[in-house]
């Protein structure tokens, strides 16, 4: 068995922490895991992707086009940008949230209409307002873990104790917030 998850978004949205929780959970079940991150220039508000590849034995830390089983999109235009990384039968978890890019806010291009609808026309998608849920929990920054919670519902590895993994991965003062964010995200798409 080999599976891969691609997390896409904008530098600074917290994709790396999300991937870390995922990876720690997979390791706790004895999976071989490789994860690739982006550092340096593209972190400064640019488009970023983090990939997690796991199974009984995996070699490559990166996947290519048409190879991801699950996509978690922190921003809806980024879902469209990386859509060709998803397998045709892959599943996307999409934050119904738009962030302007330098190009659009400078008026050099229009932010595209219909990103979510385009994804839905091609893939099985779970679309929800993770940003809104995070804000209602009192801290917009936990949006990443809200998305993570939703992703675990799709991943279907329910024998992993994600609450415990979150406790072990995030700083102590954010454990409670992130555990609530996890459940809020998970319930948002299982309902």
């Amino acid at each position: 068995m080999k599976k891969s998850v691609i997390l896409v978004g904008v530098g600074g949205q917290g994709a790396i922490l999300t991937a870390k929780i995922l990876v720690n959970g997979l390791i706790s079940k004895g999976y071989d895991v490789k994860m690739s991150e982006v550092h340096g220039m593209s972190q400064r508000g640019g488009s970023v992707s983090t990939q997690v590849h796991f199974g009984d034995k995996v070699y490559s830390p990166v996947i290519g086009k048409g190879a991801a089983d699950i996509m978690v999109a922190f921003e809806k235009m980024e879902a469209v940008r990386y859509a060709d990384f998803l397998k045709p039968d892959g599943i996307a978890v999409i934050n119904d949230y738009a962030l302007q890019s330098a190009t659009t806010s400078a008026g050099l291009a229009e932010y595209p209409e219909g990103c979510v609808e385009a994804m839905q026309s091609a893939f099985k998608c779970h679309v929800f307002d993770a940003a809104g849920i995070a804000a209602s929990l009192g801290n917009p920054k936990c949006m990443n873990v809200v998305l993570f919670g939703a992703m675990t519902a799709v991943l279907g590895m329910d024998d992993i104790d994600w609450e415990k993994i979150i406790r072990e991965t995030v700083p102590e003062k954010f454990v409670d917030l992130n555990q609530r964010a996890y459940w809020a995200g998970r319930n948002a798409i299982s309902e």
């Binding site: 302007q100 229009e110 219909g114």
Partner: protein, 590 residues
């Protein structure tokens, strides 16, 4: 994880974390580097071992390499690390260290950046090992990053040469599981004055030239049995010779039964081992990312193989690209009716560089030569303030060349050369001297944000702190410039647009050599308490003129014809407020 009957702890580490751990376990004692993506985290992970070793940031890669090599000459195991282009700066000491050899082991880590995620070119630094006639060690995952370090130090001491240890972005920045070992304390070897060994003046270099070839020949022999090079025999149909991250991709792509010769010591190539492997398979591939470094040598040795006929020498590989190139398999992808527009990296909201770039861009007759750092982003729209970017330091010296060219062609132009504080210490200082000495019509602008920003906030000689967290003498940029002969050094807060404009005008009008320091700390420096606020637009006053968009702040956009500022991103720097012609933007404290 259970291994045999013993419970073995494994840690999820990036390649860079594992290289740091490996150097520690190998008994390294002195380490010096200059930050550069994708190598930076190697040294960020060394201070945790500071009870056992000394580590530092040097002003540049050449200084770092000379410093670490000096420690090896004195008898201890030493380490330097840099991004691929850093080795261009450090090439000089490396080439001669090859002749002089070492007393303590000396390892130079180069982190290459295929696909140029954070770099200005895609050079393949394996060529440097062959060029400098030194050993090349290439790990393919985090465990090997750690384990191969120990081996690299042993090779360095046994074959009396520096070892080039090459990772790539995907090795440095991907995480996989690593088993730790214990540190081996390697006592310092006794240093005795040995002028023949340690002095490479021409007569001695002439004699040592022979030793360099002898050592390489012995190393090649060693490579045929080294644990770094391993053979996995399959059914004898297909054989793949590979190394580095390409090994991981090839393992995903080639069918069951494929034989692999996986090389970890790739210069000199173990040609006897390669020949033997080649003789046992029917079809031989050489799979490597970037140049055909191994393939060309294998073909030159008369061994038939396939490689770059199919596998591009451009951009990083991945399993899907490799499968497509070897087997012609197109990936199954779904086309969408909507396309994403580009999302390039940008200066952060509140970035101190924004105010200077906005100001200088209004001077259309001025040419601005840029440099490497966060401020490289000043070349992007809408600021479009800088017009060149070449390498570290060229912001000043290439500016000098442009000014002379315009002068001799009879069309003199004013040049502003831009470098950051860390880049100034790296190699901007020599350019600043060039400008003074040869009277180039260039105004050096040192964008002092008090940190090495783009690589993730490392200290530098101007910040007052060292890598080990100790307080240091902060080198004052204004004192340096004055000592060089800049009679007018204008220090300005770049967030104050009127003051910045005045400094630019003063520098242009100056009869004496002038330089500008734009000084405001980066907002991401954690030890400084920043004065944050929030800017808001009064929609009654906003006329939708879009002037505020010209500062290129990610927090500012236009919604329904009016300017809107995203409160989750804004830090209240007021640069947008200062350009608003209607006073529609105001700042409130938070």
């Amino acid at each position: 994880m259970v291994k045999g009957s013993v419970f073995v702890l494994r840690y999820l580490l990036s390649g860079n974390e594992a290289i740091a751990r490996g150097a520690y376990e190998a008994g390294v004692k002195v380490c010096s580097a200059y930050p550069g993506t994708p190598s930076t985290e190697i040294f960020e992970n060394l201070p945790q071992y500071k009870d056992a070793l000394y580590c530092e940031w040097a002003p540049n890669e050449k200084v770092a390499t000379e410093m670490a090599y000096g420690a090896a000459v004195a008898g201890v195991r030493s380490l330097t690390a840099m991004k691929h282009v850093g080795l261009n700066v450090a090439a000089d000491p490396m080439f001669t260290a090859s002749y002089n050899g070492v007393l303590g082991g000396f390892v130079i880590v180069t982190s290459d950046d295929p696909s140029m995620h954070s770099s200005q070119n895609e050079q393949d630094n394996r060529q440097y090992a062959k060029f400098a006639k030194i050993a090349l060690v290439e790990p393919s995952d985090s465990q090997e990053c750690k384990d191969f370090m120990r081996e690299a130090f042993e090779i360095s001491e046994r074959f009396d040469m520096p070892v080039l240890f090459r990772s790539t972005t995907r090795i440095s920045h991907s995480k996989s599981l690593v088993e730790f070992g214990d540190r081996t304390e390697v006592p310092a070897k006794e240093y005795v004055k040995d002028v023949f060994k340690n002095d490479c003046s021409p007569g001695r270099a002439y004699k040592k030239r022979v030793k360099v070839e002898q050592m390489l020949a012995e190393l090649e022999e060693y490579g045929c049995t080294s644990p770094l090079n391993k053979v996995e025999y399959g059914d004898g149909e297909i054989g793949v010779i590979t190394a580095s991250i390409a090994y991981q991709y090839a393992k995903e792509v080639f069918p069951e039964g494929t034989s692999f010769l996986k090389l970890g010591l790739t210069n000199p190539l173990p040609m006897k081992l390669i020949r033997e492997f080649a003789s046992k398979v029917k079809k031989l591939y050489v799979i490597e990312e970037l140049e055909g470094f191994m393939e060309q040598q294998i073909k030159a040795a008369g061994i038939d193989c396939t490689g770059k006929e199919l596998v591009s020498n451009m951009y990083e590989l991945n399993p899907q690209r490799l499968r497509q190139m070897i087997y012609g398999t197109e990936p199954e992808v779904k086309e969408l009716p909507v396309k994403a527009v580009s999302r390039p990296p940008t200066l952060c909201p509140g970035c101190p560089h924004r105010g200077f770039f906005y100001t200088i861009a209004k001077h259309k007759d001025v040419i601005v030569t840029g440099d490497i750092g966060c401020y490289t982003l000043g070349g992007n729209a809408p600021l479009s303030a800088t017009h060149t970017c070449i390498c570290m330091g060229a912001g000043l010296s290439a500016g000098a060349g442009m000014s002379k060219a315009f002068e001799v062609s009879g069309h003199p132009k004013k040049i502003f050369g831009v470098v950051g504080d860390s880049t100034f210490f790296h190699s901007g200082m020599t350019g600043a001297v060039e400008i003074i000495y040869n009277r180039a019509d260039v105004v050096p602008v040192i964008m002092d944000n008090h940190i090495t920003g783009m690589t993730g906030h490392q200290d530098n000689p101007g910040t007052g702190f060292t890598l080990q967290g100790e307080v240091a003498e902060a080198v004052r940029i204004e004192d340096v410039l004055r000592a060089f002969g800049y009679k007018k050094v204008l220090i300005v807060d770049p967030q104050d647009l009127a003051a910045t404009e005045k400094a630019v005008e003063d520098a242009i009008a100056s009869e004496v050599p002038a330089a500008i320091i734009t000084r405001r700390p980066c907002l991401m420096i954690k030890r400084i308490k920043h004065d944050k606020g929030l800017c808001r637009v009064d929609p009654e006053k906003c006329i939708g003129c879009r002037m505020c968009l010209r500062v290129g702040c990610p927090a500012v956009s236009i919604v329904n014809g009016k300017s809107v500022i995203d409160p989750t991103q804004c830090v209240g720097c007021t640069v947008c407020a200062q350009v608003c012609p209607k006073g529609a933007i105001s700042r409130e404290e938070v």
